[in-house]
């Protein structure tokens, strides 16, 4: 069910992720995700359709209403982008 790929797009990293967790990105798991994202220096942008949010912003992220089956696009840009994209993708796969 999960299709994802890490690719280089200019000077940033981008990957897609399909949420399989039945409750989607809800309050508490979203809080944990934000905490996890905050350890990286890079700017992390989450997009779903025409909505987008900084992954370090809890309320905005919750406000996107990401549900099971939704595909999100994650772009990572910054000094630790390679490391960040890789770890973040693994984290999402494990938790969502």
């Amino acid at each position: 069910m999960r299709n994802s790929f890490v690719e280089r797009v200019g000077l940033m990293r981008e990957f897609h992720f399909v949420v399989t967790d039945p409750v989607g990105i809800h309050a508490r798991p979203a809080g944990e995700l934000v905490k996890y994202a905050k350890q990286f220096e890079s700017k992390i942008l989450v997009k779903k359709g025409d909505k987008s949010s900084d992954m370090k912003a809890l309320l905005k992220l919750m406000g996107m209403g990401v549900r099971q089956g939704d595909e999100i696009e994650v772009t990572v840009e910054g000094a630790d982008e390679a490391d960040c994209a890789e770890k973040l993708e693994a984290y999402l796969k494990e938790k969502f």
Partner: protein, 538 residues
Amino acid sequence: MKEARGISVLNRIAIGRIHYYHPSKREVDESPAEDVEAELKGFEDARQKAIDEQNGLYEKALREAGEEEAAVFEVHAMMLEDDDLIGDINRYIREGKRAAYAVDMACKEQAQVFSEMDDSYMRERAADILDIGRSVIDIILGLKGSELQGAEASILMAEDLAPSETVKLKKELLLGFVTKEGSGNSHTAILARSMGIPALVQCGEVDPEWDGHLAIIDGYNGCLYLDPEEGQLAEFKARQAEEERKRKELDAYKGVESITKSGRRVQVYANIGSPKDLDAVLQNDAEGIGLFRSEFLYLNRDDYPDEETQYLAYREVLKALYPREVIIRTCDIGADKTVDYMGLDKEENPALGFRAIRISLSRRDFFKTQLRALLRASIYGRLGIMFPMIISLKELLSCKELLRECEEELRLKGAEISDSIEVGTMIETPAAVLIADELAEHCDFFSIGTNDLTQYTCAVDRQNAALDDFLDIHHPAVLKEIRMTVEAGHRHSCRVGICGELGADLSLIGQFIDWGVDELSVSPVKVLPIRKAICNHG
């Protein structure tokens, strides 16, 4: 004496003096700030304090109520760390608003965003944002309501209690509480239930004048008696003492296996109508759920529940009970339970009409939605799927065929499904009893629904009070049917349980044990009395 009504949260009695709680009066000053820097600092200090407060509440809720109930406070603390929210508030302050007013505006805006979302779970988060907003404002303004509790144990009365207020309560000073607002499903009610506190919500008459008066909460009848008369007080005191004695006596049967003196094991399961009942199931130490009526998902709504809604409800119950078994009965709408959106025709004789499995087998998409939700939830626990109102082998086989179809479709899509799901049928018609041998060959379990079985066997409508004289709930024909079903089931290694009212009938339990009934599924509060009877049987 005065009497008031409310919705009871717990079947228990509380007797004591009322302590009326006035929350702080929050009047947010909208005039411009004089010193922006001071307002910014005031907000930041209050925010840090509010975070500490929420973390403290989290710890307390974790200790007293459990992980699930505590989570809300952890989320509150995280929301208080949100950079956008902090940014909005600081911006308002820089524009000249006072800190409290800035917090109020920003939190209301964010709550508005949540309350407009499609997802009902997310909509409820609006209340969380408002709750944290209030706590920050109270700190900024140095507001304190009247003390939540007095020096002596009392019945707390208030307009409403936020979860953060409920969890602050000291249990040793709390006999019970009564609120004017709130619902039986609110966080506050759930907390009360898991903390074992008698409580009434939606008690319209609540009056600050009652502060200091003696009152009785009768949780069994959802009643509050203010200034009870002496006789009444004595009666309730005696009932409360008796209740306490019985509870202690039954508590001794928690964690005990239901085994007769001669060593026969009979499992005592619980019947539930929605995930709301889970607390009661766990508190009464049921060995499993023998009948989870899935109708609650269909009733009281405007349209069919989607697969996701069903899946989440099933998953919740399976997870909570694991490793114990959960038998979920597929939709039993029709007869006395109807919903408009299904567009069912009015019938002359609904009990013998288009209901239960007859609807499911006629409306296959509807049925398959439920089966898919069940299959997907199956990996979270030990699932049994039970079909209602079966009268022929053909029906049972059609159900099983559809189940197989759904399973294949889901597996193709990569879904995980448990490979140890059990399948069974309700035995609630004389036809099913007479072909029990054939049905048993294709079932892992039977569950005898004695209410319908009695009605169909004796041709007596149970809703018609005029027929009471003709209804013998211990009719020998029904008892004979139960025995025949047990014997037929056992000839084909099919377990047989009873989930109707007779299953909790203490005068029959000896017979049921002797006949070899494997499981009795009863309402959660009957689990311990039934276990006691089994353990004392020879």
